[in-house]
Symmetry: C2
Subunit: 394 residues, 2 copies
């Protein structure tokens, strides 16, 4: 039976890339494609103890329905620990727990976007955000980046040109997919523009606590005196993604809209997962755990960069991220990374072709490499395989 669907479904199709990436699930394939954290760092033994503690002390509440806003002690811990770590002074009233920060992206689209409204984002930008917003049928205006992130003059041109722009979407720290970081000066200027044009900034910040070197740059939210920034945080990269725990930090007036939308979307995030994350933060030191993650990811990034230097041809460029999970590779302009991926899969190695990250298409000569999920031996072997493919095919 063929049913009549909503118009938005024409914009939400399974991508060729997604189908290709399904082929990467072979056990002997070295995949730099996902955005997965290193599973060997998951604190399994600690979570066992925590689970018992939560079920013993508050089993009934952990298994019952709870408030849409989230479990208050977890909201408090996020305000006091995670938001403080990115320089934001806030309280639990400004925190809504979401089912991963992906849900915060979907809600942002739902709250702000009518059909044909404009979303301003980095070029390229996070694939999952693009897809979340596409469900609300906006136009995307892509702002070019250089090594310091979004180019602010280009941003102002876009704000002037598109008065129906509804928000600026940015991943300021170790951006997905480029690994680039927005400079301090540009954060200040972005805030000035947001105020001038009365437009919110969606600061998507999954990687900000994963800096390996260089000085920490304050989050845009921490510099925001006017309530212009809606901050999306997550435990997926600093704790574990399987629990599906993220949050939104925003001023109560706009946060109340997210709460209404959350209620009709899934009532609330898992009562037990929220209590487990809170108990973990009360019992152990999440900062120390993040230090461990940082140390290992730094080693993997160093190794991947070293191997790229050694194995990739000279006409291939790549970014040098100071943190996060990703390196962005740029090939000569005539090369199609999707075609390369097909060859790569045959040779048991994978990446994500870059054009998926450009909401308006084009830009076929890039790909994204993830360095967090593979062991050092696999990084060495995988980059060798990729280097060989590049040498033979570009």
């Amino acid at each position: 039976m063929k049913f009549k669907l909503a118009e938005r479904m024409e914009h939400l199709k399974t991508s060729e890339i997604r189908e290709l990436l399904k082929l990467t699930e072979q056990p002997d394939l070295i995949s730099f494609a996902g955005g997965l954290p290193a599973p060997e760092l998951f604190p399994i033994e600690e979570i066992k103890l925590i689970s018992l503690k939560v079920l013993s002390n508050e089993g009934t509440n952990a298994l019952q329905y709870g408030p849409t806003e989230g479990y208050t002690p977890l909201r408090k811990l996020i305000a006091e620990q995670r938001m403080k770590a990115v320089g934001v002074n806030t309280t639990f009233e400004n925190i809504l727990i979401t089912s991963g920060s992906q849900q915060g992206l979907d809600f942002t689209g739902k709250i702000f976007l009518n059909k044909d409204d404009v979303v301003i984002c980095e070029s390229p930008s996070y694939l999952g955000a693009i897809n979340a917003f596409k469900a609300y049928m906006p136009k995307f205006v892509e702002i070019p980046m250089d090594d310091n992130g979004m180019i602010i003059d280009e941003l102002e041109k876009a704000l002037k040109k598109f008065p129906n722009a509804k928000f600026i979407y940015t991943i300021p720290d170790f951006q997905n997919p480029t690994g680039k970081t927005l400079s301090y000066e540009r954060r200040i200027k972005m805030l000035e523009l947001a105020e001038k044009y009365n437009i919110p900034i969606i600061e998507d910040s999954p990687y900000s606590e994963l800096r390996f070197e260089g000085e920490t740059i304050p989050s845009i939210k921490s510099l925001d005196k006017k309530g212009l920034v809606i901050y999306l945080g997550t435990f997926s990269k600093t704790f574990c993604p399987g629990l599906r725990l993220g949050w939104i930090c925003a001023e109560p007036e706009i946060l109340s809209k997210y709460i209404i939308v959350k209620q009709s979307a899934d009532l609330q995030t898992s009562s037990i997962s929220q209590r487990e994350a809170a108990a973990f933060m009360q019992t152990y030191n999440l900062n120390e755990h993040i230090d461990k993650i940082r140390a290992i990811y730094k080693r993997r990034r160093d190794l991947m960069i070293e191997m790229i230097k050694q194995e990739f041809p000279n006409n291939v460029k790549y970014t040098l991220p100071q943190g996060g999970l990703f390196i962005w590779v740029t090939l000569p302009e005539n090369v199609d990374a999707t075609e390369l991926l097909k060859i790569a899969i045959e040779n048991k190695v994978a990446f994500v072709p870059g054009n998926s990250f450009f909401p308006n298409g084009g830009h076929t000569n890039h790909f994204r490499l993830n360095f967090s999920n593979m062991t050092e031996n696999k990084i060495i072997e995988g980059i060798k395989r990729l280097g060989k493919i590049l040498k033979e095919n570009i």
Copy 2:
């Protein structure tokens, strides 16, 4: 800062009822307002053992990202156990795991509804479904019910009159809020109409396994030979709501749309919760657990009905549900249940006024009572308090 929001946000407002119901969170108040299961039946000790088992045997996968479709063993168990229990022969390929069945409602709106499209539903219908659909700005066409559920002649009139109707939304078993059940004959006729008008039926089935007496009526999905039914299931009422686990059972062509929408909405449901539910079903007998729930809810329903007979004035009518969680009370036409609720809260007892369940408003002379969540002593005392208020105020 006031931002420009999407038009849909005008349809999503905090309701007066929700604000009133916040007042019911006092510990000495007897609340028949929520739709909460009995927490004393949560299998806490069993879930402790299960949690340890899952974390010991597959901790890494339980804490990592997983597939959008859900954890395959859980999808298989749902197909083989839960869907079989409602008479449906299906396989895991037809099952998508959702974060509660509320998420299935939101996705249904997202997949089917353009602005001003028509949703056909029972009058009254589930408040959470109405709110989920409202985000997509449809018109609601309410079909009157009698003791056998939706009146089929009225349904056909609506299908003729509204060719832009996108789906029929029904809760056939022990409906929320009325407790009424759609008869077998009407299920057959509803399917015939769905085929004739090429319109899907959304069968929302949270309570179907909670029948206390009378003969089980096959689910609409089990009678569907043409792939017309999209079935929404949940563990919230038969296991525990805190894990946020529901599912959608539908033919692959339409299920693939739900999967695409799920990916952009929250990537996936909790990896660990899915494994815990699967391990519970593999280790214990969920059917036996449901038997326990049924026995206790039956006692509570019996007691509540007995107390209503004894305490409510004669001009108050009420339904006699054969299962589920709710009794629907009808007052004389001139009585406003919202005004009564204010008096009730002062007297430390609460219910949900009925007009929230009518998407187009009106119908102020009803209220919904929940009998699953309160102990027998509280049912006795609460209905006494309510009876006194009714006698004094109507």
